[in-house]
């Protein structure tokens, strides 16, 4: 048996030592790069020192082994015997160092983990803080956006309602518990007769009737609202406004009324129109009835008058029977005049219409009646428009209109006064206007709606038939015009009220062609 050759061990030792040095330094280079990359990571620090110790050990051991082989194989065994203890000692030292580094790892790792845990907690807290700050920022931004949006909406809404408030043609108001107006729109101010709110501006002062005011306040206090409440306001210029009011009580947290807010619609015009329509309907029906009665009565009256006149021929004047027949004739004629007036009122009488000038008609009437008026201390003041267009009408009937109006004025001024007669031309409506105004006693409100009724009179029995204004009304209507009464008279320019009565007439102007047609 030749034994076992140790040559493979020598080769393995040589190659292995070289590879160990090379690989350990490669590992060290990665460990170094790792530490550079993350210098605060304890694990990489530990691995770096561990790898460095391993590299040193590999160098020490590898170089030692290679040196040993070189020296021994080259026959310098003595030299190796000198170096051998140092090589072995260093190897041992490095082995212990690597072990020491490894054992140190335990405490280091624990400290690192504790630090890392704290750092992670801090990082987590920081992240949470950042997240919370972000959320707060978002919320803040969102809140700002929301506030901006709400402000925009509010502004838009305010603008909308302000526009509605300012431009509403109805009166919109807010007032306190005592009725003191805190805010009112321009239409409301105008309706109450103001351009700007006065110092003491209380809504309750404008109620014309106390019973209406009481009903309004009671409803507000008890029900909290009023709806479609009809009332009359007396505006600052004294004119009466018919209003339709809807209002709500403003309540505080305890449910106590602190004020009210409301919208009131001016129904005056509608009311007047309605009244006019009612009046017209009434006049029409009365006229129809009057026409029927007049026709029926007119024939027997004609027969009575005819027979009474025939019988008068059979008796001498001065005879008692003759005188009785004269009474019958006179009273019959009076009846016929009434019947004729009724027919005029009901527009049943014959008309002979032609082109006429109102100024001329008035002058003709005044030529007859002005002397009599002067005797009664009544002065006539004329204010005629010079460029008055012609109207189509029955001259006689138009004369009667002005005679009736002047008679009416005269009766209203028993102690004298003034009669203002004016004419004009409304180019917009193409109407000729005429106004007869007196400074008399005026017409009370409660009879205004009856003055055009047939047989309505304020005169004592026997002094008037009550047909004058009815006939006037009938004639004007027959001419396609209108007649209105105003009492007392309000000056539109100054707003001042004057005692008296004014009759306003409007007659339509007909085109020339129409005029010709009428003539034909």
């Amino acid at each position: 048996m030749n034994g076992i050759s140790l040559a493979p061990t020598i080769v393995t030792d040589l190659i292995g030592s070289g590879l160990a040095v090379l690989i350990s330094f490669l590992a060290l280079s990665y460990a170094y790069r790792l530490v550079k990359l993350q210098p605060n990571n304890f694990l990489w620090g530990f691995l770096f020192y561990f790898t460095m110790a391993m590299a040193c050990f590999s160098v020490s051991r590898g170089v030692g082994h290679i040196l040993r082989l070189i020296l021994v194989l080259s026959g310098r065994n003595e030299m190796w015997m000198i170096l051998s203890p140092y090589s072995g000692g260093v190897n041992t030292l490095l082995l212990i160092s690597v072990a020491a580094v490894t054992l140190y790892y335990h405490k280091g790792l624990a400290a690192y983990k504790a630090l890392r845990t704290e750092a992670e907690k801090l990082a987590l807290a920081n992240a949470k803080l950042e997240e919370t700050a972000g959320q707060l920022q978002k919320m803040n931004t969102f809140l700002e956006e929301m506030v901006e949006e709400r402000t925009r909406d509010l502004s838009k809404s305010e603008k909308k309602f302000r526009h509605f408030f300012e431009n509403s043609k109805d009166m919109v108001y807010f007032c306190d518990y005592g009725g003191e107006i805190s805010d009112i729109n321009p239409s409301g101010l105008h309706l109450l007769g103001y351009d700007k709110p006065p110092s003491n501006f209380n809504l309750l002062n404008f109620f014309k009737y106390n019973d209406t005011l009481e009903r309004y306040l009671t409803a507000l206090k008890e029900d909290g609202f009023v709806s479609d409440f009809e009332l009359q306001f007396e505006s600052s210029d004294g004119s009466t406004r018919h209003m339709l009011l809807s209002a709500n009580a403003i309540l505080d947290r305890k449910g106590r009324m602190t004020g009210c807010e409301g919208i009131a619609k001016d129904m005056t015009r509608l009311r007047n129109l309605t009244d006019q329509m009612v009046s017209q309907e009434k006049m029409a029906s009365v006229g129809q009835m009057a026409a029927g009665v007049a026709h029926e009565i007119n024939t027997p009256l004609g027969i009575i008058l005819g027979y009474s006149q025939l019988m008068m021929d059979d008796f001498k004047e001065g005879d008692e029977i003759y005188e009785n027949l004269q009474v019958i004739e006179r009273q019959t004629k009076a009846c016929r005049k009434i019947v004729a007036d009724l027919l005029k009122f009901s527009r049943q009488s014959e008309s002979n219409k032609a082109e006429l000038n109102i100024n001329t008609i008035i002058e003709e009437v005044l030529a007859v009646s002005e002397h009599n008026l002067r005797l009664n201390h009544i002065e006539v003041i004329r204010d005629f428009s010079s460029d008055l267009p012609s109207v189509i009408g029955d001259v006689e009937k138009m004369r009667q209109v002005f005679i009736n109006l002047l008679n009416n004025a005269q009766h209203a001024m028993e102690k004298g006064g003034e009669i203002f007669i004016s004419t004009g031309w409304d180019a917009e409506t193409r109407d000729v206007t005429a106004t007869v105004r007196d400074t008399g006693t005026g017409i009370p409100d409660h009879i205004k709606c009856k003055i055009f009724d047939p047989f309505f009179t304020t005169k004592t029995v026997g002094k008037g038939t009550g047909l004058g204004l009815s006939v006037t009304y009938g004639i004007i209507r027959d001419h396609g015009g209108s007649i209105n009464v105003e009492s007392p008279i309000v000056d539109l320019q100054t707003g001042q009220t004057t005692q008296g009565t004014a009759f306003h007439l409007r007659l339509p102007v007909t085109n020339k062609s129409e005029t010709n047609a009428v003539k034909d």
Binding site: N2, L6, G16, A20, A27, L37, N91, H106
Partner: protein, 168 residues
């Protein structure tokens, strides 16, 4: 009760006095017997080998601890740590082999190796288990080099993972 406690206190004082006396006697012996001076300890020849072997054991223990700790720690997972564990296992095995080799070398006689210090060196017959084992332990680089390769792979993995994380 009080007398009992006083007695105990007296006993403790007596013991302290006795200890002080013994220490003083030993110090006196050191001064009066210079031939047996203990100031420096002599180091015999085998001490270097023992220290080296103990260093192997210490290193092995440290590696075993590192292996155990990296295995049990939940955070230390992944390819890098796995290769570090392989490194530990290889190097523990290498330590055993090296320790065995050093020990067996002590049992070999100078005549057991023929042509020592040359390329023709041989283990002289008869071939025993000790000699074969010794032969095998001389091939310890087959464990040492793979261990270092595992360490290299482990660190390389750690580095590229850290780099990737840093680039994020």
């Amino acid at each position: 009760m009080l007398s009992c406690r006083l007695q105990q206190k007296n006993d403790r004082i007596k013991m302290k006095t006795l200890s002080f006396k013994i220490l003083f006697f030993l110090f006196f012996l050191l001064l009066v017997l210079p031939e047996a001076c203990w100031a420096l300890q002599p180091h015999g020849e085998p001490e270097g080998l023992y220290v080296h072997q103990m260093a192997h054991i210490l290193f092995m223990g440290a590696l075993a601890y590192l292996y155990w700790h990296t295995r049990k720690t939940k955070d230390l997972v992944g390819k890098g740590w796995r290769y570090l564990q392989y490194f530990c296992l290889f190097l523990i095995a290498w330590n055993i082999v090296a320790f065995t080799g050093h020990t067996l070398a002590h049992y070999l006689e100078p005549t057991d190796i023929i042509s020592k210090g040359t390329w023709a060196a041989k283990l002289a017959p008869p071939i025993t288990v000790i000699k074969i084992t010794y032969f095998l332990t001389r091939m310890d680089h087959f464990l040492n080099v793979p261990a270092l390769v595992a360490l290299l792979i482990s660190l390389r993995t750690f580095y590229y993972e850290a780099l990737e994380e840093a680039e994020k």
